[in-house]
Subunit: 504 residues, 2 copies
């Protein structure tokens, strides 16, 4: 809810007030950078940025739409949460013009009061708001020397952004080659206002994870805990969207990295003795959180579960303590492998020299994913592999990293080491003498079907010490205490009395 | 969860088991119809149906996807809930071949066990399953005289279905002109198996609506009730998707027909004295429900609320009692206007002859939408305006109808009369002497800001008497009783103690 008098957005007095100045500040950062480029002779004076917002997405050919979610680059500069808008920023003056769709009178019957441009101008705190229909004329008068449009490839999806387009754009000189890199780089470090929104999203997720840990009982279906999480995020925190598809793996499902998709939709029964790996994150005002909690379904860690859990926790903490501006992310990735492998060796699962293990990519056998990723408006925020950044490492165990950059002050990223027992990877490693010599086979067999552990935090890299945005129980003791508390309450679930199928 | 031994789908023992034979029956109906067309010389012997399933939909250029939901026509014939499949049915033999994507070995790490085609063959109960990669070769050997593909316009969205395509399809003779009409017409009447799935979805929605009515307290935000509904649908009913964007209007929001969209996202506070209009429907196994409940936020109808509510209820019941095979849907629409306007006249809001009111489109002033729509896999199921059907009426008050067909046995549709107080429509009517003479202005003014009432049921049209799929309290007494029961429980919500903004 935008408060048109006070220029903020919230979802009620129990939720975070986001000031519209967040976007003014983002625009100022963008304009400052583009002026720098003009100074450097890389861009014409008189240029203007032109962005096109997202449109509603239909389910196939039907009239059912996904609940609209604004395109992230557009939201970053303008803060508009509705479909079919455009926005222009003049680089010289920083003046912003938004373009809203002109809605027919009868729209009011179906969609509610039609807000006039003047009201939008106050709401979004911009210099002017016009109709999209009038954009060719307004831009014609504005006479930008160049229109900067957004075209670039997302390094996580491989998809290209939708470039702004309108009938008549061919009358302008368009440059689509610089904006994506510059905006992506600006999005990599977050402003104080952005960090507060991300902290809120992470706190909502934290509380929702705690609600799940208290609510869970063996015999429930995984998706029922997904439902508890989503309900808590929305009802308590005002988060209508989740930042990504929730991963709720019980037991062996925890070893499927992207569990929760349509082919494995969190639909297994959670059994007594299972380890759970729940990777779920709420989104507030288009800012993501991405938090993973791992815990035993029955509330008490077994000795094996504790050993694995503490190995991952040690890796998580070591990285949190070492990650700071100037440090290379791939070095942190290696550090997490080093710490975890050492602990697994102490636990009797591995044998031999840890540095040799790293060279043989034993890390990648147990954690076949990168240590973490940039996070912001998107759970996997852009900017990991921009042209100016180190390219994706090619080395085994490092090539899955979503970035290999040097850390900067106010970067926000996830630290998410994990340890998984994935049959196909274990079998491959056991069949490879260079790897199998490090593995204590007799011990390992006991862990088949264990699933996995991941401990994922959302962290702001700071000169003065990192800022942990989420707050969930992390030590074995903290988790067992919270879960014991949850066990005090009687929880009934629909099939609690029924027979449980043992099929997975 | 598909049970590969027993050939059904469910989301646990507390949810409905859907037999895979549902799709075999749909395929048999399709093949029978196409054979008929071969007999009539309208289609070549040796033809085959080729359908392409849905693909994952990304949020803009990011790697975040909407939770996959299968394209409805594809699901109707095959029952496959995963992306990127194709399917072929030979018309002469009815033999079905499914084509699944060939996934790389490492997919198992990220997405889980790779299911081999033989297992899919058992799961989906089809004659064979091959890889999509092999489709050109397999089809080449099959030598269909014609490939029938799906191309047609959805009359609710105006969008065209995505026609099946693969590299090499140009080597086949393709006919895209008949399948959409034939499949749409088949989808209009539901099989017994389909009706049971729809009954289940409607029952989940019914129970979720009851949970909302019990939970609601003035001072809550509308979206908090949306969250309660979604949680109940998913946690209790196994419904991961909703059938459409939920409409949760308190007070004046109830007069916005598609309230709940991004520009009006169920974000107002519900006040004591407000009428609520909650239009929410869970989806199970890609079958929709679409149920609207209207009730007073505080659990007790005022005299005015009761009068409006009972006018709408009378219209709903009159249609339920009169709608049967052979009846024209636009006549039912007129009947609902007749009954409602008569009641509004008795309530003192209108004056004059009811038949004259209908001619002057007073109906459209208070209910500016159609009486209801086909429902099935889509909330607005296709088939309303096929070439063989009566075209969209042009008359004011009737032109919003989503169909104007003659009812048939086993059609499933919504009956959803409503009465809304929409300023723009009231002002227009008062300014028009042909309309204003029927309106008792002094009485009407009291209802400004009232919002609206809609009573929406999901109904199977049957020769032997209609089958009501949902089960929610409908009379004033039933609603007040249920809500009083809910009031026995203490409900705390995050801002219950805070000051409430009066702003809407
Ligand atoms: Mn993550
Ligand atoms: Mn409806």
């Amino acid at each position: 809810r935008y408060s048109d008098g006070a220029t903020y957005f919230d979802m009620g007095e129990h939720t975070l007030r986001v000031p519209m100045s967040l976007h003014a500040e983002n625009r100022a950062r963008l304009v400052a950078r583009l002026k720098e480029m003009i100074g450097e002779g890389k861009l014409n004076a008189g240029s203007a940025v032109l962005l096109q917002g997202g449109s509603d997405v239909q389910r196939d050919a039907t009239d059912c739409t996904w609940v609209f979610r604004q395109e992230s680059f557009f939201h970053w500069v303008f803060g508009v949460l509705e479909p079919d808008w455009f926005g222009v920023i003049k680089v010289d003056s920083g003046k912003t013009t938004l373009f809203c769709p002109k809605l027919p009178q009868d729209f009011a019957v179906v969609m509610g009061r039609i807000i006039p441009p003047e009201d939008f101008k106050t709401r979004y705190q911009v210099e002017s708001v016009c109709y999209v229909d009038d954009m060719p004329e307004v831009l014609g008068k504005m006479k930008p020397t160049t229109l900067l449009t957004l075209k670039g490839v997302n390094s996580d999806s491989g998809l290209t952004t939708r470039e702004a387009h309108f009938d008549g754009i061919d009358k302008f000189s368009v440059n689509n080659s610089i904006l994506h890199t510059e905006m992506s780089e600006l999005r990599v470090t977050k402003s104080a206002a952005e960090i507060e929104v991300m902290r809120y999203a992470a706190m909502v997720s934290s509380e929702a994870h705690c609600a799940v840990m208290k609510h869970i009982r063996p015999g429930m279906y995984e998706y029922q805990l997904e439902s508890v999480f989503q309900h808590h995020s929305y009802y308590q925190g005002g988060c209508r969207h989740q930042a990504y598809t929730n991963i709720c793996g019980g037991g062996v499902s925890g070893a499927v990295l992207h569990y929760g998709h349509a082919g494995a939709p969190n639909d297994c029964i959670i059994r007594d003795g299972d380890m759970c790996l729940f990777d779920m994150g709420a989104e507030y005002y288009c800012y993501a959180s991405d938090v993973t909690c791992s815990f035993p379904a029955n509330g008490k860690f077994s000795a094996d579960q504790k050993m694995i859990y503490n190995a991952v926790l040690a890796a998580n903490r070591a990285v949190f303590d070492s990650a700071k501006p100037g440090v290379k992310w791939d070095d942190m990735h290696e550090l997490s492998y080093r710490v975890m492998l050492k602990k697994l060796k102490e636990g009797g699962l591995l044998t031999g020299d840890v540095e040799e293990m790293i060279k043989a990519d034993i890390g990648g056998v147990f954690q076949p994913h990168g240590l973490g990723h940039l996070i912001g408006m998107d759970a996997h925020d852009p900017g990991g592999y921009l042209p100016s950044c180190p390219p994706r490492p090619t080395k085994d165990g490092f090539n899955k990293l979503r970035m290999a950059r040097v850390l900067k002050h106010n970067m926000v990223l996830t630290i998410e080491p994990g340890c998984y027992f994935i049959d196909v990877l274990l079998d491959r490693a056991l069949a490879d003498p260079k790897k199998s010599k490090f593995i204590v086979k007799e011990e390992l067999e006991r862990f088949r079907g264990f699933g996995g552990v991941r401990i994922e935090d959302d962290v702001v890299i700071r000169e003065e010490g990192n800022d942990l945005l989420n707050k969930v129980p992390r030590t074995v003791e903290e988790i067992e205490t919270l879960m014991a508390e949850g066990r005090q309450e009687i929880v009934s679930f629909p099939h609690a009395e029924g027979k449980h199928s043992s099929q997975r």
